[in-house]
């Protein structure tokens, strides 16, 4: 290393010399930033144990555990890999997973949230002080004292509102420039008009100033905005963590040596090694090796397909048995995984037409407020020919009608509902997802990976001769193929002992074979064992020259699948099963769950088209799916849910992510969404009721700043309390 080694500035050179020199050396190179997810940590002892363990490694510069996010961020010497750190933490007795730091960057600094919080604090500070001054005015301060209080209030309010109200001014300006009206236009107008009339009144030493009302308005509205932002930030950070858990890495072969590289660094023509259990990082062609490929995430097929030399593979397929070397034919945005994005974009254009409840309320509300304020101004001006009175009264009307409660009505409810759903393992990603979920009347399920877990289960164990099962167990127990594992599990559970078979070898892509009593015994694909294929997923055992025996499998149901279908049907919703899998296996599952409408061997575009057709018939479709073949349908549906085990593309396309393994929460989610929407409309009604009472007063010129402050605070508090009833 050529970097100069300076002695560390330390009061005690003896105790700090060696580590300081090392740290100094590390500081001259870009350090490795490593993030680990630690799902099981829960206490103070966990924090100090992990931090001490990490700090004990001389190459670690700093380590910090975040208990709220259950995450550790480590800064270390450049040659340290995340895998080493993960092993270190696992050695301490905690579960650890590597996180992709590139994906997490956005969560690290939540700039927008901090900005809003700061404005909220300024508005809160100013409001409290001005309120205090106003209370003395209301309780009878007069003449010079009142004027002084008004002037002090003005001095606090003007800079505070200029800073705190910025988000509203910006939104209002943006809407006006495009010739639209949104909720922020009446807000901005009310704030500006209130300030102008109050200043004018103060100058003329008048009795009424609305500084406190303008500030309270800003404060309550900012509180609503902040709640809204937080709910979405929590969902976004949880969704990002899911993505970051899948670190996109591949093993590249260069001149016979293997190296770990990021998937984004791969180029067409690279040779890539994919181990059994690994996922194809790119589209390519198999150069060497034979294996079986699990395509269920792409097509919904549960039966693995054979993969041999020269066969094309696409990104997202899982290699099951033998190691493969593939030559990349398409990388990055050209892979079939990404091409699906076009289909998603087309499907999504249909959804953007949804207007949220808040927007449709604003559409009715904003013009109404402006007309009322304009009318009262014109009426009073014509009646008294006094500009000051007319302006005062129209400012009062604007302030009293201002959508303080409306601004809180939606965020307060969605925050309460999202929090409740989050505790049940549901992540609401989209802001209007709850409203849309409440309208659902048709539910479309995908099969593989959604209603089923994607892991096979042996079903004909009782019908098989015991010696065949014993032989199959002996051959299967060494293999990691999902069907072999299912045989091992079922046979061990039934108390079977493996037969005495020697020389067991796995033939990747075909099956396993061994020898007993001089006869060859094979367990594997139909073609390899000389058997006739059967419609369901199956594997075959052939002993010597005897006829092969079929072991048939079915997909294990995901926990709560039966409950979910049953609950949804009881709620009066139509349930449809749509799968890319073969006809018989879809039919069996549909009967088992009691689903009358089903569709098999559906291509991705067909799924999306069917969902769009349902929408055109007037149905509000909830799509639940996990695979690449569902992505377009997820985007086309009115609202969509995907499990956390889904492909990244599917999770991005869906509005709600199911974090747990249990599907039963879907039924509950629909109920919660419905009661949330009911609360929102109730809140709108409460806000309107306050307006109906207060507006005539204001238009009659009877509203004092005290009445304005009371009406505003009361309606905001009632609305928030009503939202909390959701728990």
């Amino acid at each position: 290393m050529t970097a100069p080694m300076r002695p560390a500035p330390s009061a005690c050179p003896a105790c700090a010399a060696a580590p300081a020199a090392e740290a100094q050396a590390a500081r001259d190179l870009p350090r490795a930033q490593i993030a680990l997810s630690l799902p099981t940590i829960h206490c103070a002892a966990c924090i100090s144990k992990i931090e001490r363990g990490l700090d004990a490694d001389p190459r670690v510069v700093s380590a910090r555990v975040n208990l709220t996010l259950k995450r550790a961020s480590i800064e270390a010497a450049p040659d340290v890999t995340a895998e080493e750190m993960r092993a270190l933490v696992e050695g301490l007795g905690y579960e650890a997973h590597e996180l992709d730091p590139g994906t997490l960057n956005a969560t690290a600094t939540d700039r927008a949230g901090r900005d809003l919080l700061m404005r909220l604090a300024v508005a809160g500070f100013a409001m409290m002080n001005v309120m205090l001054l106003s209370v003395s005015v209301w309780s009878g301060a007069e003449a010079a004292t009142r004027d002084m209080f008004h002037w002090i209030s003005a001095a606090i309010t003007l800079p505070a509102i200029a800073f705190a109200g910025m988000p509203f001014y910006r939104n209002a300006w943006g809407a006006l420039r495009q010739g639209r009206l949104n909720m922020d236009v009446p807000i901005t107008l009310a704030i500006v008009l209130a300030l102008v009339t109050s200043l004018w009144e103060t100058m003329l030493s008048g009795a009424h100033a609305y500084f406190d009302a303008a500030l309270a308005l800003t404060f309550f509205l900012l509180a609503g905005r902040y709640l809204d932002h937080r709910t979405r930030a929590i969902a976004r950070s949880a969704a990002e963590e899911l993505t970051a858990l899948e670190v996109p890495r591949a093993t590249r072969l260069t001149d016979g040596s293997e190296e770990q590289v990021n998937v984004s660094d791969l180029a067409v023509g690279d040779l890539i090694r994919v181990r059994p259990g690994g996922r194809m990082p790119v589209d390519g062609e198999i150069v060497t090796g034979t294996s079986e490929l699990d395509r269920s995430l792409l097509t919904g097929e549960t039966v693995p397909v054979f993969g041999g030399q020269g066969q094309a593979v696409s990104a997202g397929e899982v290699n099951l048995t033998g190691p493969l070397t593939i030559c990349a034919t398409a990388v990055g945005a050209d892979t079939s995984l990404h091409r699906m994005a076009d289909l998603v974009a087309i499907a999504e254009s249909g959804r953007s037409r949804y207007t949220s409840l808040a927007d449709s309320a604003a559409k009715l509300y904003a013009p109404g407020v402006h007309i009322l304020a304009g009318l009262s101004f014109a009426g009073w001006f014509l009646y008294t020919w006094d500009m000051r009175t007319a302006l005062n009264i129209s400012a009062a009307v604007l302030i009293i009608t201002c959508p303080c409660a409306l601004g809180l009505a939606v965020p307060a409810v969605t925050t309460a509902a999202s929090g409740r759903l989050f505790r049940q393992g549901m992540l609401i990603k989209h802001e209007t997802a709850l409203e849309r979920l409440a309208q659902v009347d048709t539910v479309v399920f995908d099969k593989t990976g959604t209603l089923t877990t994607g892991t096979p289960r042996l079903i004909n164990l009782d019908a098989l001769p015991p010696e065949a099962v014993a032989a199959a167990l002996a051959l299967a127990q060494g293999s990691s193929h999902p069907l072999a594992r299912a045989i091992t599990e079922a046979a061990t559970e039934a108390g079977m002992k493996p037969a005495d078979i020697r020389d067991v070898t796995e033939v990747p892509g075909y099956g396993t074979r061994g020898f007993a009593d001089g006869r060859e015994i094979r367990l594997g694909r139909a073609g390899w064992t000389g058997a006739q294929g059967v419609p369901e997923s199956a594997t075959f055992l052939k002993v010597g020259d005897q006829a092969p025996v079929a072991f048939t499998f079915t997909d294990a149901l995901r926990p709560g699948a039966e409950d979910a279908v049953e609950t949804l049907r009881r709620q009066g919703k139509r349930v449809i099963l749509m799968s890319g899998d073969t006809r018989p296996s879809v039919e069996v599952l549909a009967h088992r769950l009691g689903i009358d409408h089903w569709m098999a061997e559906a291509l991705p575009a067909e799924k999306a088209a069917r969902v769009s057709a349902l929408a055109e018939e007037g149905a509000r479709v909830l799509m639940v799916g996990d695979g690449l073949n569902d992505t377009a349908a997820l985007a086309a549906a009115h609202v969509s849910i995907s499990p956390a085990s889904a492909l990244d593309a599917a999770r991005v396309a869906s509005d709600i992510v199911l974090l747990g393994n249990d599907l039963a929460t879907i039924g509950t989610a629909c109920t919660i969404a419905q009661s949330a929407t009911r609360r929102i409309t109730e809140n709108f009604r409460i806000a309107t009721l306050y307006n109906v009472v207060a507006v005539p007063l204001a238009m009659a010129g009877l509203a004092t700043p005290l009445i304005a402050a009371l009406a505003m605070s009361l309606s905001s508090v009632t609305v928030s309390l009503n939202a909390l009833r959701l728990r």
Binding site: A44, I47, V65, T68, A121, N129, T145, M148
Partner: protein, 52 residues
């Protein structure tokens, strides 16, 4: 009423002090890990000397 000349500036200064303290806590990332910070105070790792 002359007391107001002192009381109003005092109350405003105290309020501004609170605001400044809050803004400082936001700027120095003190709300990043509320749960962890609540527990960290229980650990006695750095009781004898500060963390290097």
């Amino acid at each position: 009423m002359n007391i107001l000349t002192y009381l109003i500036p005092i109350s405003l200064t105290l309020g501004a002090l609170g605001l400044a303290a809050f803004i400082y806590t936001v700027k120095s990332n003190q709300y990043d890990d509320p749960e962890g910070d609540a527990r960290r105070i229980l650990s006695d790792d750095w009781d004898d000397h500060p963390k290097p």
